[in-house]
Symmetry: C2
Subunit: 199 residues, 2 copies
Amino acid sequence: MPKIGMEPVRRKALVDAALKAIGDHGSLDVTMQEIARSAGVSAALAFHYFGSKDQLLLATMRSLLRQLKEEAIAAIRQAETPRGKVSALIAVSFGAEQFAASTVAAWLAFYVEAQRSEETRRLLTVYARRLHSNLVAALSPLCGRLEAQHVAEGAAALIDGLYIRRALDAARLDVGEAAALVEDYVTLKLNAVKPETGR
Amino acid sequence: MPKIGMEPVRRKALVDAALKAIGDHGSLDVTMQEIARSAGVSAALAFHYFGSKDQLLLATMRSLLRQLKEEAIAAIRQAETPRGKVSALIAVSFGAEQFAASTVAAWLAFYVEAQRSEETRRLLTVYARRLHSNLVAALSPLCGRLEAQHVAEGAAALIDGLYIRRALDAARLDVGEAAALVEDYVTLKLNAVKPETGR
DNA sequence: TTTTTTATTGATTGATGGATCAATCAAAAT
DNA sequence: ATTTTGATTGATCCATCAATCAATAAAAAA
């Protein structure tokens, strides 16, 4: 059985399995046993490749962030107008995968972990900053840099808040509804400054 | 030592100690040992009065919710105008105690627990519904019931989102700034419907 | 062919922590 | 004075789980 070049394959399988387990449980209270089993290998192999549970969890988080980053880049590229870029960023946050109940639950669990783990906190901060600067970049041409900072702040908070509500009761919060709420906020703020630039 | 009528005293001490421990750790990963020690009793006594760790944690949550409820009631009573009531509700959410880093961390931890514990989820849902209905009640005279529902939805999400940002980096998010952001949202929404009713 | 390297796991360890229990002590009731 | 009840804890049990390790097997290199 032992074929060569298994490392990247196993790493990916383990990271994916970890994400699934975390999503299912809705917390980081998952055993290496469960993760490894789900990836089709022994727990010992997970330790062999990642060294510790913490490292596997961090790798899982990085994977989630990388995916989000790539989606954001693609979304921005496709949009033509600044206003379109803003909508694209919002759409990514509420995309099918990102807004899936299990993904949202995983995010929440990582936020709690951030209270304890320096590196987790750092990664989450990076994500927050990226979303913010992406929003500001798209908003600035519409209302000036200063106002863009404020609108971005509000939009980001709104997105995070809707994630929480999603985590609490996935059934009651519609995806489209959530996205519309943020869109409405942005439109409203833009109209307040430059009435002709809005929707 | 064994004086009679200790039960309520111990219960309160344990609940307070649990809240403190959870806030300090930023998660529910606290031992009964630590909680009991902080309350000045043995771990065995904590089990004697609460039966299990889960029950102690639920009692802790109920305590937090009761406090929030009372603050909200008092705030609404003191305010004269509907608009004032809305502001009062927002102010409560960002009150010194509620918005303290450790309290926010505890809330976050409970949200994660809600993925696993039915009763925790129920309690959080009750809280969410109460905030919502309080907001709607205050907003309805200003913009009609239907619009009030929407504004309340947005305001609640905004509050939750600002809590998360607070949890991630308590230093960078000012309390006044957070409250102002929500106020601004409400004012903006009200102006959009009935321009003469706003700030 | 022999040696080395990579892949892999079962078995084991060590620590942690929730939960139980028997025993103690003092106040209150009889 | 004796019994009962509430308060309290140290010691202990038991399950879980992260982490380690020695052993095995096959591919690749020498």
